[in-house]
Symmetry: C2
Subunit: 305 residues, 2 copies
């Protein structure tokens, strides 16, 4: 047991999975959850997502030695202001936001002296959201990044690291700004690109939606899965990691224009050597255990299983 009482604020995919993973590992004496919406709280109670579901954040954080903020990045400041006065002395506050510098700026000022703030981000998720979306294996063999503040308490960081490891995750620490740049590459830019492509497909008058759907197995399907992610969460990510996202998109556009020019001028050599290089990264991901080599495009659809 690492913590006596873990308070989960916001009961979506990540908080739900954390609660179930904490239970699986026997990592806390008690988990207490709350959410803004009464419907979410009712669902969480019904499926026994936490040991206790309470109606207010003040109740949730009372006596908790770990408080986890699992709300969209844009809601972090308001929640931090609300819990500030109710935090137990010596408690640790962390979060699971996909952007770190913006969360530090939003949450930091509201936390009282004697409370430890260790921002965090589990690199795991699915395209589903809400209290029913969680499952205890979500973090297994995935990475969680902590972005501890300068002068922060090493013991608080070590305990939080142990919790994530107990939930099955690998853990690494890095600077918040570097985190935001890395995630702009591996997550934020790809999501915006997928959203864009799916939107374009939906817009075309000469190709019907039913054609797009029927023939999606050709590559588009994976874009739609990414573009089915929670809209509020992603709006907040882009608005709060503006600079890094725009920088990566700028590089992306530059490279896309070069490839478009190669297509237009018939430069097959340029295309072939570019496409050969990108195969290497895929191999690295499989070797690192972050995906399987099973041919996913060929997996059996629901109707035939």
């Amino acid at each position: 047991m690492i913590y006596q009482r873990v308070a989960l604020i916001g009961l979506g995919l990540i908080a739900g999975s954390m609660s179930l993973a904490i239970r699986r590992g026997g990592l806390a004496g008690e988990t207490v959850g709350t959410a803004r919406s009464a419907q979410t709280r009712d669902t969480a109670r019904e499926i026994g997502l936490c040991d206790r579901i309470v109606d207010t954040v003040a109740e949730a954080v009372a006596g908790a030695d770990l408080v986890v903020l699992c709300v969209p990045v844009g809601a972090m400041a308001a929640v931090a202001a609300e819990i500030g006065p109710h935090l137990a002395p010596g408690a640790t506050v962390t979060d699971v936001g996909s952007v770190k510098q913006a969360v530090i700026d939003a949450v930091g000022p509201h936390l009282p002296e004697g409370v430890h703030f260790v921002p965090g981000h589990p690199i795991a998720g699915t395209e589903h959201s809400g209290p029913r979306a969680g499952f205890p294996e979500l973090f297994d063999s995935r990475w969680t990044l902590l972005t501890p503040l300068e002068g922060g308490d090493p013991e608080a960081e070590a305990k939080l690291r142990a919790l994530w490891e107990g939930m099955g995750s690998f853990v690494e620490s890095m600077d918040a700004n570097h985190h935001d740049l890395v995630l702009a590459v591996t997550s934020h830019a790809p999501h915006l690109i997928a959203y864009t492509m799916v939107g374009v497909a939906d817009d075309l008058r000469r190709v019907t939606d039913s054609e797009v759907i029927k023939y999606s197995a050709a590559g588009f399907r994976d874009f739609t899965r990414i573009a089915a992610s929670d809209p509020t969460m992603w709006r907040d990510v882009f608005l709060s990691n503006k600079d890094a996202t725009l920088e990566i998109l700028g590089r992306f556009t530059e490279e896309l224009f070069a490839l478009q020019r190669a297509i237009r001028t018939g430069d097959g050599e340029h295309l072939h050597s570019f496409f050969t290089r990108t195969r290497e990264i895929r191999r690295g991901i499989i070797e690192a255990g972050q995906d399987t080599d099973a041919p996913d495009f060929g997996r059996r659809p629901k109707s035939s299983s």
Copy 2:
């Protein structure tokens, strides 16, 4: 049994899967395969991919009542010129190329009178290639598009349709140019975009390749799977479906710039409503049985299974 003898020219993922699906369904008296590379032919013999593997295309097509061209689009013209003189009278020639108008232009002129040409394209595949990549279920519940020529033989088309249905596929016929536009949306533009994003990630000096690999579960992973597809096949696709691909990429860039501007100006409403709309298409794909609702991002990596 639909055909007496099916000749498969080129022994990659699609030809291999066709041979295995034809065997599964008892759809042909015999399958004969050939490939340009001796190594590919040896592998195909070793694993018994076809009933017979022969060394030349002339031998392969001799006496075949169906000939399937399974080579990259850029190689179609040369192969058609080579088989032309050896085709049996009344035989049907088809192909599996991802682009249709360019294949019609390349292959048509080389086929003698009395041979039926029915171009086709199975919308199925994986990121793997080569003779070992095939599996008999590849086409189950996927769509195959035929783009028959004006004035073509309806009986030849009906037989080919029956073959694809026997291999588990749904079949639809459409005009070649419309096919090329639909595929530019569902396949060609998404592939180029994925290749681009993976190339950009590999290029960035401030983010290491190992970071890109470790944290790929955040969305990037699916791009790398798409960008691991066969470089030669894809070079040929882009060069031979130039106009439609560039048109869709133009629309994509326009939309991407609008979203970038929304990020820069902090227009959360625009982002949120765009991201909400794209969720609908995903639902359609699941309802149409073209993907499962299982949370793919959360699937267990190899190392923990």
